[in-house]
């Protein structure tokens, strides 16, 4: 599958050199990552009339080279933008481009997580602000790849079935004020692209304080890494005595846990 992409990418690259800029009305910038797939990403994820701008304030951190394509760390931070309402993370050259979408509702507009990549690709975060503008940041990750078409370790072992949806977590005070929550969920996160192994992944996670006030909504897609680990920061004004996480996977299995301090 990725070979087809590769060939198409080369063709597009050749075209992109001459007219790589004017993809949609209102977008006047060229892609700082110079990806031949940007035009397709623009069409796939954003309405034609939406204003989409490349914005250095959207920070995407990932290693330039990732040897382990099954577990590539990525952090997104949109804290420099006012009023981030929704953040979509995607990878231009992944067979499944969408990685995760999250909506900060009190949590800091950022998220740390890990992903599977099939080949070298830009990894981007598009941040929608209250005025409706999408701000896009990103970085290239080079990898020998193959991360999307391998079955999870979990799919080959009965162990995970007993522990499916198990959450471990911890809360830290941050020097800057506020708190950091890290949580790990036992889940195979199979993409459905490995032969004979159906897609099986976490679709929905909701983080609230112990009173139920919302902090963060996460919509997950297939490329999140097996047994996903998330890092979330809570501003000082929203810290609480405890937190809760709840959600479900695409098979309807529930995830529900108390995050104690």
């Amino acid at each position: 599958m990725h070979r087809v992409h590769g060939a198409a990418a080369l063709l597009l690259l050749a075209c992109g050199l001459t007219f790589g800029t004017a993809h949609a009305a209102g977008d006047r910038q060229t892609d700082p990552l110079d990806s031949p797939r940007w035009g397709d990403m623009r069409k796939e994820f954003f309405p034609a009339k939406a204003r989409v701008v490349f914005d250095g304030r959207v920070k995407v951190s990932a290693p330039l080279t990732a040897e382990n394509a099954l577990n590539v760390p990525v952090s997104v931070d949109a804290g420099a933008l006012p009023d981030a309402t929704e953040i979509l993370v995607f990878a231009d050259f992944n067979p499944i481009t969408r990685i995760v979408r999250f909506r900060p509702e009190g949590a800091h507009p950022g998220l740390g997580f890990r992903i599977k990549l099939q080949q070298s690709t830009p990894v981007r975060a598009a941040v929608k602000t209250r005025d409706g503008v999408w701000h896009v940041g990103g970085t290239w990750v080079n990898t020998t790849g193959g991360g999307c078409t391998l079955p999870s370790a979990g799919s080959g072992s009965p162990e995970w079935q007993k522990r499916l949806g198990e959450v471990s977590s911890r809360v830290w005070d941050r020097k800057e004020g506020g708190e950091r929550i890290r949580l790990r969920i036992i889940h195979p996160e199979d993409t459905g692209l490995a032969a004979g192994v159906p897609a099986f992944y976490i679709q929905e996670l909701k983080l609230t304080d112990e009173q139920g006030a919302p902090l963060l909504q996460i919509e997950g897609f297939e490329p999140l890494a097996e047994n996903p680990v998330f890092s979330v920061d809570i501003p000082a004004a929203r810290t609480a005595a405890g937190y809760r996480v709840s959600g479900r996977d695409n098979n309807g299995n529930a995830i529900s846990a108390v995050i104690e301090k």
Partner: protein, 319 residues
């Protein structure tokens, strides 16, 4: 010559150089030059680099000991071509037959030359043999990706003969096989009591950052203590130059100790993996070859376990 412009002379020079490089590549000649470091003891020191199509995977140290009873080869290199060239290099030095080829552990640059040698001469620790059986194929495919044409015809061959720790008499050399672990699940060191040469395998790196895909940092540091206690005169590390003192052991231990402490502290502080990758390397390690790349790989390989430990430490599974 005077009728040629400077430009055309440059063009000719470039053309000639290009052909020379092309011919060298077509030969796939590693240019192996064994260096004698003690009585009957020869080493071939590889480059302190990552695997590449330029070095053909020759980033590893191999060696051999010539005795009246035959030749012992220590590690067979990263490819069939390397193994064959090593065999020819040995034949240029001695007419004694190769009676044993040991693989110090199951990483690809240490055993993928096995094909060049008679199957009955191949030997390794049981854990190494098992590792070659289970992971050899994947390693081999990966080496084709990283080293390209140099790998032509290379296939993983696992030794059949299982080694156990203890003395090994070979002609007039009194050897000690030392079974350790930490770099992988089975690491063999070979101490030649007759010459004082210690072949440490990848338990010891010298001026090159250690690799950790199968590492247990605690066990590895213990193994280094054992090696340091041996009273050797020379040490042949798995990667990097031969040394006459324990400095490479101390350097490897210092790196592993720092790595372990750094990752543990990072996990205890709640750092995300991308934040761990951004931590600065201490000045004392910055001169190690490929240190940035190895740190990045080590974080990817090792940090998840430290994280799990730190998260589990909350002791209250949130369910």
């Amino acid at each position: 010559m005077s009728i040629l412009s400077r430009a055309s002379r440059s063009a000719i020079a470039l053309f000639t150089l290009g052909w020379a490089l092309l011919l060298a590549a077509a030969d796939m000649d590693y240019g192996l030059q064994p260096v004698s470091i003690a009585d009957g003891t020869w080493v071939l020191v590889g480059r302190s680099e990552d695997f590449s199509t330029a070095n053909g995977g020759n980033i590893v140290n191999t060696g051999f000991i010539v005795t009246p009873a035959g030749v012992l080869v220590i590690d067979s290199g990263p490819s069939r071509a390397y193994g064959e060239q090593l065999k020819r290099a040995i034949a240029r030095i001695t007419d004694k037959p190769v009676t044993m080829v040991v693989n110090t552990h199951h990483h690809p640059d240490h055993f993928l030359g096995n094909q060049a040698f008679a199957p009955e001469t191949l030997a390794a620790l049981p854990g190494t043999i098992n590792g070659i059986h289970t992971e050899g194929g994947t390693f081999n495919e990966n080496m084709y990706r990283l080293a390209g044409d140099w790998m032509a015809g290379t296939e993983p061959v696992a030794p059949a003969r299982q080694l156990t720790a203890g003395p090994l008499e070979l002609g007039d050399h009194h050897l000690e096989l030392i079974a350790l672990d930490g770099h992988t699940g089975a690491d063999l060191a070979i101490f030649d009591r007759s010459t004082g040469v210690l072949f440490a395998g990848d338990l010891v790196f010298n001026d090159r950052a250690p690799t950790t895909p199968h590492a247990n940092l605690v066990a590895w540091q213990k193994a280094l203590d054992r090696l340091e206690s041996l009273g050797f005169k020379q040490i042949v590390p798995g990667h990097g130059p031969v040394a006459q003192d324990a400095a490479p052991i101390r350097q490897t231990r210092a790196w592993l100790g720092w790595l372990d402490g750094n990752l543990r502290q990072a996990a205890e502080d709640g750092l995300d993996m991308t934040e761990v990758l951004a931590l600065p390397l201490p000045a004392e390690f910055r001169r190690l070859a490929v240190v940035e790349a190895e740190y990045r790989r080590s974080v990817g390989q090792l940090y998840p376990a430290y994280e799990q430990h730190a998260l589990a430490r909350s002791g209250r599974n949130a369910r």
